[in-house]
């Protein structure tokens, strides 16, 4: 097997705010192989976006700071790279698509000019050649009558069409890696499906890897090869999409899956809220919300990722020595919660209160 295209090792990112230091990403590791799609899943505030934007140092610095770890892209550690070097990688080899297409395009330039800009930042081609390529790309991402619309301004396109334009722009220099941060969240459901299909087709055609950041497990099931589940700045579970969906091994993943409709159970919000990342809880970060939490979970450091299958890891004390992991893998969260007497759960009354959780 060749080296992964992207390998994030023990990444730590913090933000120096007026209220204190926020440890947004605290020792995150995962790999992205060539041509694969990795979904980074988590609630908002889990650090998934910060982790992915740190790759090309897009986070605002200051207040942000990469406090440790390595980001190996094609063997090169990007945490050490110069700003100039990163500029050539951004948009050239690693492209980004962001959540809100309504504001992702500069309102004062025609869309074609914005794509041409992206092309010419990385390719030494004439304006005309870049323009031709822009039209090709627009056509490829499904903008009808691309030739006629290349000089239109962003406000003349719908949200879904704008996101297609943004995707075309991301493809401008044929990147090896596309980082798509909630690219469908702001769109209608039908448009969401179209954009997902488009991304899948483009991946097949261009052979790039995709890191897809989302909070939506339905989207994950659609598009992912592998899944990285993040919570409060840490990776909770990682594995192939089949393993994670069929044999969720971390209580948090199970809770997330319980939220999904059509999983044989009613929608069930996860009780409680994300911990304060200025003062993360001791021990497992999930313990205030975890139905299985034991005394070990509440002290010490966050549990390490431990293998639970081939290429499938989970960070939970139940996979360490002296624990019976079937407690977690064998039954659903709600059953064990009932068996537990509900002592560790804050939300035993809020089963139907879907606004209380973060489904």
């Amino acid at each position: 097997m060749t080296d992964p295209l992207l390998s994030i090792r023990e990444l730590r990112v913090r933000f120096d705010t007026d209220e204190g230091v926020v440890q947004a990403v605290d020792g995150v590791s995962f790999d992205v192989e060539r041509g694969e799609t990795v979904c980074v899943v988590g609630e908002s505030g889990s650090g998934k976006t910060v982790a992915c934007e740190s790759v090309t140092r897009l986070i605002p610095m200051p207040p942000g700071e990469i406090a440790g770890g390595e980001i190996l892209f094609d063997g090169e550690d990007l945490t050490e790279a110069s700003e100039k070097r990163l500029e050539s990688i951004r948009g050239g080899r690693i492209a980004h698509v962001f959540q809100n297409p309504q504001s992702a395009l500069n309102p004062v330039y025609p869309i074609g000019a914005q794509i041409v800009e992206a092309i010419r930042l990385h390719r030494d081609v004439s304006k005309q050649a870049a323009r031709d390529r822009a039209i090709d790309l627009l056509d490829r991402v499904g903008i009808p009558e691309a030739t006629a619309r290349v000089d239109d301004y962003p406000h003349e396109f719908s949200g879904g069409m704008k996101q297609r334009v943004v995707i075309a722009m991301a493809l401008a220099a044929d990147p090896d890696l596309l980082v798509a941060d909630e690219p469908t969240t702001a769109l209608d459901v039908t448009i969401q499906a179209q954009i997902l299909r488009l991304l899948r087709d483009l991946q097949a055609e261009f052979g790039m890897s995709i890191v897809f950041v989302t909070h939506d497990l339905g989207v994950v099931a659609e598009i992912a090869d592998r899944v990285v589940v993040m919570y409060a700045g840490r990776v909770m579970e990682t594995g192939s999409v089949h393993d994670v969906f069929d044999r969720p091994s971390h209580p948090y993943t199970k809770a997330l899956l319980d939220c999904l409709p059509g999983q044989g159970q009613s929608m069930r919000p996860i009780g409680g809220t994300l911990p304060d990342l200025k003062q993360p809880p001791a021990g497992c970060r999930f313990h205030p919300r975890c139905p299985h939490a034991t005394a070990d979970c509440r002290t010490g450091t966050h549990p390490e990722l431990l293998p639970v299958g081939s290429g499938h890891d989970a960070a939970c004390v139940y996979y360490g020595p002296g624990y019976d992991s079937t407690v977690i893998r064998g039954e659903s969260v709600s059953e064990s919660r009932a068996a537990d007497g509900g002592d560790a759960v804050a939300d035993s009354d809020s089963d139907h209160d879907t606004t209380g959780g973060d489904c």
Binding site: T56, L58, P60, K84, E87, S88, I89, R90, G91, G92, A95, H96, F98, N100, S103, A104, L105, N106, P107, V108, Y109, P110, E117, A118, L121, H122, Y153, H155, V166, M169, A172, A173
Partner: protein, 324 residues
């Protein structure tokens, strides 16, 4: 609605506004007592002339004895043909007086405007992209100083320090030196500094505020994600969109600089430009000249507004012509 129609409407409106202003001015002059007649008579009397004769002469020159409608028509025709009357205090036509004064105003106003825009915007943009750093605080502090300090006081202080104490620069403006001479440049330094200080501060504050709107905008992140360098991001993706709202301020600023701040500066430094001309005309009740020096800025404001509206059509593709 199309852009051409929109521009045509704006031009038509500018013409109507000009017409209304002229008519109102005429109305005010018609009902105003004396309108310079007294001052003219007084002038004649001090020179030993006959007061009543002077009054009649004045009425004749100004056409005050004609019926109202004829006077109105004459007035409009005169205005349109740039025949703006006679300045009795200066013994030259108003137009000649304006033409003589204008170069002096431009000599310091143009460099001051240029400097304040370039420096104001540069500092503002820098502050916006380096928010909460020491330089940002320093810039903001300087801006507050520049805005708070009154021009007349600042001008006098500068004269005291650089002209009286240090003797580096002349303390007041002397005509008769060639425009492009070092001597002329030296005597323009202080007025330009006084005028620019306030204007730099204003421009800096506005451009910082506008740019801040965009510094964290998604499309700026998109531009960075494309691989654009800081300079390109700043100029093309922050400054260019910010130019749309800044246009309003920019135009107002240039006009204000030319005709308001300049007033005090010209009096303090004794520069024989439009401001001083107008100041003296008011003191001496030279109605025709007062009117001219007041109307010129008004017309420039109308033209400025027109330019600004047309600039919007170029700068902002989202402009909705139907709404405006």
């Amino acid at each position: 609605m199309s852009m051409h129609w929109y521009v045509a409407r704006r031009v038509a409106w500018a013409v109507v506004a000009t017409y209304l202003i002229l008519t109102i001015t005429f109305g005010l002059l018609a009902v105003a007592p004396g309108d310079g007649q007294t001052a003219f008579a007084f002038e004649a009397a001090t020179e030993g002339g006959d007061v009543d004769e002077a009054r009649e002469t004045f009425d004749e020159i100004t056409g005050r004895d004609e019926p109202l409608l004829t006077r109105y028509t004459n007035y409009m025709v005169n205005m349109a043909t740039l025949n703006w009357g006679w300045s009795f205090t200066r013994n030259q036509s108003v137009m000649d007086a304006l033409a003589a004064a204008y170069p002096y105003s431009l000599m310091y106003a143009v460099p001051a405007t240029f400097i304040s825009i370039v420096f104001g915007y540069a500092i503002g943009l820098y502050s916006a992209t380096h928010q909460y750093t020491l330089t940002d605080y320093l810039g903001t502090f300087t801006a507050f100083f520049g805005i708070s300090v009154p021009n007349f006081w600042f001008g006098i202080m500068l004269i005291l320090v650089f002209a009286v104490d240090l003797g580096w620069l002349p303390s007041y403006y002397q005509t008769g030196r060639g425009v492009w001479t070092l001597a002329n440049a030296k005597q323009l330094v202080l007025p330009v500094v006084v005028l620019s200080t306030g204007a730099i501060a204003g421009n800096m504050r506005y451009s910082r505020a506008e740019a801040l709107e965009y510094v964290h905008a998604d499309f700026v992140k998109t531009a960075r994600a494309k691989g654009a360098d800081d300079w390109r991001v700043l100029v093309r993706h922050i400054f260019r969109p910010a130019l749309v709202p800044l246009m309003t301020i920019l135009v107002a600023d240039i006009l204000g600089l030319l005709f308001a701040g300049a007033y005090i500066t010209e009096v303090v430094f004794q520069i024989p430009g439009l401001g001083l001309l107008s100041y003296k005309a008011i003191i001496q009740q030279d109605t025709a000249l007062v009117m001219a020096t007041t109307l010129v800025p008004v017309f420039i404001a109308i033209v400025g507004n027109l330019v600004q509206d047309i600039a919007y059509t170029v700068l902002d593709p989202r402009i909705d012509y139907g709404d405006r």
